[in-house]
């Protein structure tokens, strides 16, 4: 499954990094603690968070994640969007709360790992 498959079937808006939509998604991870993501998300995971500041881009890039979903209607800062664009990180937003997004991801076949 690619990031694009997920974007097409869930209520997600692509706000940056559209060039990376073809990336394979290996699983999912949800956390608002950055070091927790660094320590436990696997390469190629899609990450659900409510953090919208620019440090999420470095985390996603260095941990080799497939995409970041900023959930709960949180609005990524302008610097976050710009950085995601320049680093080639797929940044998605949704009005759904984290719990609901993770439920839908699970239903569509993205497992935690």
């Amino acid at each position: 499954m690619t990031v694009n498959d997920i974007v097409k079937s869930l209520p997600l808006t692509v706000v940056a990094g559209g060039d990376g939509l073809g990336a394979e998604v290996t699983g999912g991870y949800v956390s608002d603690l950055l070091s927790n993501v660094m320590g436990h998300a696997a390469a190629g995971n899609i990450w659900v968070t409510m953090q919208g500041h620019q440090n999420i881009v470095a985390v996603a890039s260095l941990a080799g994640l497939a995409a970041v979903i900023v959930a709960g209607g949180a609005v990524p800062e302008r610097e976050t969007v710009a950085k995601a664009e320049s680093e080639g990180i797929v940044l998605l937003t949704t009005a759904l709360p984290s719990f609901a997004v993770v439920g839908l991801l699970y239903q569509s076949g993205v497992k935690g790992q």
């Binding site: 603690l33 660094m38 440090n55 985390v59 260095l62």
Partner: protein, 143 residues
């Protein structure tokens, strides 16, 4: 190439500067990608370098992050001027953090940075003098 001829990278770090936080580690990652280091190895180097870099930004006043990339391994050395760590055993415990609330709100301060460095590295050493600063040495082998 002589096995001790490496690529030397060096970056200045400034405490409290969250805007460029992570850039030094991102630059190291790009160099490793260019020379074709295995991606799972790059990931371990990037994660440990990022955690060490962030600790200077979060907890110290200033510092320098050095990477030495050899054919068989990468060494990360991070030295800072800062408050140092009085009780290293306590600081190494997962979940222990002295990060203030405004930094925790950004998602830092999970108390997992030092444990993540240990988990990602083949060799890890920490030296600290309370009131002066901290030095971290990390070695990650490429195979």
């Amino acid at each position: 190439m002589n096995s001790e001829q490496g690529i030397a990278l060096e970056y200045e770090l400034k405490g409290g500067d969250f805007e460029i936080a992570g850039e030094a580690s991102s630059k190291i990652k790009r160099v490793l990608q260019q020379i074709g280091v295995r991606s799972d190895v790059i990931r371990r180097i990037a994660i440990s370098s990022y955690e060490a870099e962030m600790n200077v930004i979060i907890h110290a006043w200033s510092g320098v992050l050095k990477a030495r990339v050899f054919p068989d391994r990468t060494e990360i050395i991070v030295e800072d001027q800062g408050p140092g760590i009085a009780d290293i055993d306590l600081a190494m415990q997962e979940g222990y953090s002295t990060a203030p609330d405004h930094i925790r709100e950004m998602g830092f301060g999970a108390g997992m940075g030092l444990p993540n460095m240990v988990r990602c590295s083949d060799e890890f050493a920490i030296n600290s003098v309370a009131g002066q600063g901290t030095r971290i040495n990390i070695v990650i082998r490429h195979s």
